[in-house]
């Protein structure tokens, strides 16, 4: 997200009224923003907020012919001449409106283009529309607009989403970028990731299978390094992850939420690099269960039983069908601990 040497070239804005499944919705109006000193200052503050957050790498879902509607719009914005960039902005605004359903409030969609040599950086920001600032066309029929009460825009707006793509005007660029979406992963997928899946038609660069496999490998690495109590913590982390409603995780987030110091280090050691550590991915719980080779049962008595898969049907016996099943575990006790305030997800 560093701004080193990037120079703001131009900006565009559009107010987005959600119109998913509304075939009769009007095409959003898009404007060229007056990028005067006040706007530049305001944008710098707004982007500084974004820069404090970790960006997750994403890749566009290209078709076989290397085509993608968002990439085409980004290329128009980045490299188009005269009126072409505004057409690119309209394409993106239409796409965002149609990706957003009516449960979402109207928003202010701002796109900026920065320049560094032959490279361009296109940044997309979504702010909630506030009554304290407004997008005003410069004149009747004008394609130019300015933000009124720009100070309110900075102070009162809350940046919701950012996406950023950069590169040269060549076919291998603008196929991957990075995003921040504060809403992703905390609620059901269909609602949460319209920004990445529907609008950008993209996916996290770390795919579900790879991300989940890294989690399983990380848990195993931590488990091997842990003492008896640590092993219990790792098992609890695995159980908590499987029970948690959140789907989008990063290795760093899992480590910070569930694992103490040394165990966290062992867990994070499976990441090849810093981007893999902080990059988000969608956790596949079934695959995680399969990879860590453990099943966890909660009994009506409040007892929890965690068992390696291999032991199901041997020392851990399941009986009954459907909803009424019982479990019996038999074996020699190897160790025993008393814990107070056991943390369960």
């Amino acid at each position: 997200m560093a701004n080193a040497n990037w120079e703001l070239q131009r900006g565009y804005a559009s107010v987005i009224y959600p119109s998913k499944r509304d075939d009769g919705a009007e095409t959003p109006e898009a404007f060229v923003l007056r990028t005067d000193a006040r706007f530049r200052q305001a944008l710098a503050v707004a982007t500084a907020i974004a820069e404090r957050r970790t960006m997750s790498p994403v890749v566009l879902n290209m078709n076989d012919d290397r085509e993608h509607p968002v990439r085409e719009a980004l290329m128009k914005l980045a490299f188009g001449q005269t009126r072409t960039p505004l057409a690119g902005m309209v394409d993106l605004a239409v796409r965002l409106a149609r990706s957003t359903d009516r449960r979402t409030q109207p928003s202010l969609f701002i796109v900026t283009v920065d320049e560094k040599g032959e490279s361009r950086r296109v940044s997309m920001y979504v702010f909630p529309e506030e009554s304290t600032f407004a997008l005003r066309p410069a004149g009747r029929g004008s394609t130019e607009a300015f933000l009124e009460h720009v100070n309110s825009f900075v102070l009162e707006s809350q940046l919701r989403k950012v996406a950023r793509f950069e590169g040269k005007n060549i076919k291998t660029h603008f196929i991957s970028g990075s995003v921040v979406d504060l809403q992703i992963g905390s609620s059901p997928r269909a609602v949460a990731d319209y920004w990445v899946t529907d609008f950008l038609r993209a996916g996290f660069a770390i795919n579900d299978v790879k991300g989940t496999t890294l989690v399983a490998d990380g848990l195993k690495a931590a488990f091997q390094k842990a003492d008896a109590e640590g092993k219990q913590r790792v098992m609890e982390a695995a159980m908590a992850l499987m029970a948690h409603g959140r789907r989008a995780w990063s290795l760093e987030r899992i480590a910070s939420e569930y694992l103490p110091g040394q165990l966290a280090s062992a867990f994070c050691s499976v990441a090849q690099n810093a981007d893999t550590l902080v990059g988000k991915f969608m956790l596949n719980k079934d695959l995680l269960r399969q990879r860590i080779n453990y099943r966890v049962f909660q009994l009506t008595s409040g007892v929890w039983v965690s068992s390696p898969f291999d032991e199901i049907g041997r020392s851990v016996v399941l009986e009954g069908h459907g909803r009424k099943r019982t479990l019996t575990a038999r074996g020699e006790i190897e160790s025993e601990r008393v814990r107070s305030n056991a943390k369960r997800a």
């Binding site: 290209m62 012919d65 090849q272």
Partner: protein
């Protein structure tokens, strides 16, 4: 602005080690991804040699350099190949890749005309993602963003590999030699067709038992 060839060569030579590290990661990952599939003969990756890269970097198209930024534009700096027994296995490999190694482009290269026999292979250009790269990758300037994966049958491979030596000299070959070259391509296509039929028959036989 295009860099001088000397600079391009130096930059490519300096990155070969990193490309090899990524290639090794990809080979291991793909081998695991396809482990459940039958009829996979081989999975292997290579990095482009300096000489081959420089030859491509100097390619011309319409009187101009084909690549303005060869270090970023040439997509087979890292390339892998999957060899399968039968034609339907190609689709199975592509299905196994779906959602994992995201594509930038995919094409099944084959002769346009039904009356021709020539090179036939599925080419998939995949996007390089952070989880594939060593820590030093972040410091690499003008990074490649993609790699190439070729998927073909053993018969397609049996024709494609030897013909590569003839490919660049086609104009100089005798007419009868060129005919032999394409006759060999037709034979490879025929072999694939026969293997496919036999494999289906074998599968039906197993079903009946």
């Amino acid at each position: 602005m295009r860099r001088e060839l000397r600079q391009i060569r130096g930059a490519y030579e300096a990155r070969v080690g990193l490309l090899q590290a990524v290639a090794r990661t990809l080979e291991t990952e793909l081998t695991g991804m396809l482990a459940h599939l039958p009829h996979i003969d081989r999975v292997y990756f290579r990095t482009k040699s300096v000489a081959s890269f420089m030859e491509k970097a100097q390619a011309m198209e319409g009187g101009r350099p084909k690549y303005e930024h060869p270090l970023e534009e040439i997509e087979d700096q890292i390339a892998g190949r999957v060899l399968v027994f039968y034609r339907p296995d190609i689709a199975a490999v592509l299905e196994a890749l779906e959602g994992k190694w995201r594509k930038a482009e995919q094409v099944h290269r084959r002769p346009v005309s039904t009356s021709q026999f020539d090179y036939e292979t599925t080419h998939r250009i995949c996007i390089i993602t952070p989880d594939m790269c060593p820590p030093e990758w972040a410091q690499l300037e003008e990074q490649p963003t993609t790699f190439e994966l070729q998927i073909r049958t053993l018969a397609q491979h049996a024709w494609s590999e030897p013909q590569h030596a003839f490919y660049k000299n086609r104009g100089g070959l005798k007419e009868s030699s060129e005919r032999k070259l394409y006759w060999a391509a037709a034979s490879a296509w025929g072999m694939d067709s026969i293997w496919e039929e036999l494999q289906q028959e074998l599968a039906q036989l197993h079903e009946r038992r």
